[in-house]
Amino acid sequence: MRDSLRQLVLTRYREFVREPEALFWALLFPILLSVGLGLAFRNRRAEVLHVAVVGAPPTTQKTLEALGLSNGIAAEGLDTSAARLALRTGRVALIVHAVDTGTVRYEFDDTRPDARAARLLADDAIQRGAGRADPVAIGEQQVREPGSRYIDFVVPGLLGLGLMGNGVWIIGFAIVDARKKRLLKRFMATPMSRVEYLGSFLISRFVLLVLEVLLLVVFAALAFDVPLRGSLWLLVVICSLGAISFCCLGLLVAARPRTIEGANGLMNLAMVPMWILSGVFFSAENFPVAIQPFIQALPLTAVNDALRANMLRGAGFDVVGPELAILLAWGIVSFVIALKVFRWR
């Protein structure tokens, strides 16, 4: 590497690590977000529905025994007024009136989904307890495996969000700040190569990139068991290409503005649509079909889709090829335009 390029990269790196706050937020923010979302949307155990049984002791006892066979229900015997109070306050979802042997009456609020579920489960248990034989044999298989939970969906999204934010913000602000302080103009008065100057931003981006991706992926794997099913090499390629692409977008955003405020407006213009449309927190497929081609062409959508395909479904190059092509196109087009319109003074 030429000494000038090495010095420029070192400068980028020093300026960055000597701003501890920026480093802290760039690295920790995605992790804090994943903790918050992971806790909010964590998978609870299947809920147990509470049921009250009212009636004369012998019939009540028999009903309670029958209900005890269902593992979705916790039943208790109460007198009528206590049972009504429990129903009103939501402590039980259903009252079973054991009228006499062979007759029960259900009391519940049919607008409550849990009440309707309790009614079905209780009825099923009572009928079986009374000797009903099911004509169709059934088997159950429960699906709770990693890879299809919300946290699994959101971690690749946060990874993509970080690639975009750190690329656009860090590069955009550094360049506009240098322009505002006339440092860019001072550099122009030296024989410094302009391509090396802009290139130093792309190269130095990798120092942070390694840290930010590694931290979030390892944290998500350890804390939430988020899977990494695809090839790690492909993950590296997706992250690198994504980072470069967003850096070039950052260069483009920072190509003209003379003030931080001006740059901030442009950055929001570039990033807010992607925060909303590109499927970070919920699937981009929720948006109307008519705007899907636009959404699919956004770089953040491409990164998120590629990361999810790689991490959750173990997809290979053949599957994520189109996404990588989109990222490459964004990077090249942004860089070329940035270089053309760049305000060096």
Partner: protein
């Protein structure tokens, strides 16, 4: 044979309706220290930035070290040293790191440590730029300007806003650079700076050169006035203003407590007369000094305004 370091012919530059530079001609000889002296807004910075290749003139010719910006931009950048007004170097880098960064842009130049030592920042070499004083920052800016071993050095208001000691240190630095036979072009609105540093001075006002010569010749064009100042010891007999005014060559007397200033056109006749008067009247002179009229007076004579409030 003298070589031309810088030649400007018929330079024009406007910003909208404001004519920053109008029909400006200048020639700077290799090895001299050339000053552009003028008030703020006179067009000094515009002129120097055109020379530095940072601004394009609307019309006119610019030849720097025998080359033109349109054809030899890269070679010129290799051979010019530049300090800009208002550049803020990165505050998070240290002194050495900053100089090393600038050094890496040039094909040749002195070692980084040597440059840091030259601008007397050795003790601060590991300090962050953000912690430096104004004078230290300015010396660092000069270090970044000379790190490529330039043949021609442009300094835009190098000492503006500095305390007297820092100014003095920068003057020494510029003087040493000049002594090595290199060319310096600087702008300033301090007339004492121009007088002290420059071989020749162009006085610039409203985008044109209104006078150009050596500082001494510019001042003598006024009619060669000198100032003699003296202060009396405590307990000395007091001086008689009438007698002072009557001395040979004296045109005016100004008194402030026991400090006197005589303005004279003939210093070599006034001085013996003054000393003789002191002998006769028992004046015990504590401090005696003379100085020539300054470029400030030249500017006042040419424009009717003072530099600092122009």
């Amino acid at each position: 044979m003298t070589q031309t370091a810088l030649a400007l012919r018929g330079l024009h530059k406007s910003y909208g309706k404001i004519h920053a530079v109008t029909a400006l001609d200048l020639t700077v000889t290799a090895g001299e220290c050339f000053g552009l002296l003028g008030p703020n807004g006179a067009g000094k910075t515009t002129t120097i930035e055109i020379c530095e290749g940072l601004l394009e003139p609307d019309s006119g010719e610019v030849e720097v070290l025998g080359m033109r910006w349109s054809t030899h931009a890269h070679q010129l950048r290799e051979q010019l040293g530049i300090q800009l007004q208002e550049t803020q170097l990165s505050e998070k880098l240290t002194v050495t790191e900053t100089v090393r960064l600038f050094r890496s842009f040039y094909r040749s130049g002195p070692p980084v440590e040597e440059v840091v030592a030259l601008v007397q920042l050795e003790e601060k070499r590991a300090a962050r730029v953000g912690t430096l004083s104004g004078g230290q920052k300015q010396r660092l800016a000069v270090a970044c300007a000379i790190v490529g071993d330039p043949r021609l050095l442009f300094l835009d208001e190098p000492t503006t806003g500095l305390d007297p000691q820092s100014r003095r240190q920068l003057w020494d630095l510029i003087g040493r650079f000049r002594a090595e036979g290199r060319t310096v072009v600087l702008t300033t609105h301090y007339m004492d700076e121009a007088e002290h540093l420059c071989d020749r001075v162009a006085i610039v006002d409203h985008g044109r050169v209104i006078a150009l010569d050596t500082p001494r010749a510019l001042i003598s064009s006024l009619g060669a006035e000198h100032v003699v100042g003296f202060t009396l010891e405590e307990g000395s007999n007091s001086a008689d203003e009438q007698a002072l005014r009557a001395l040979d060559g004296v045109s005016a007397v100004r008194r402030e407590d026991e400090a006197f200033e005589l303005t004279t056109t003939e210093l070599r006749r006034t001085m013996p007369a003054l000393l003789a008067l002191a002998e006769r009247s028992g004046l015990r002179v504590a401090v005696l000094r003379t100085h020539s009229a300054t470029l400030e007076d030249v500017f006042v004579a040419l424009t009717g305004r003072h530099l600092r409030d122009a």
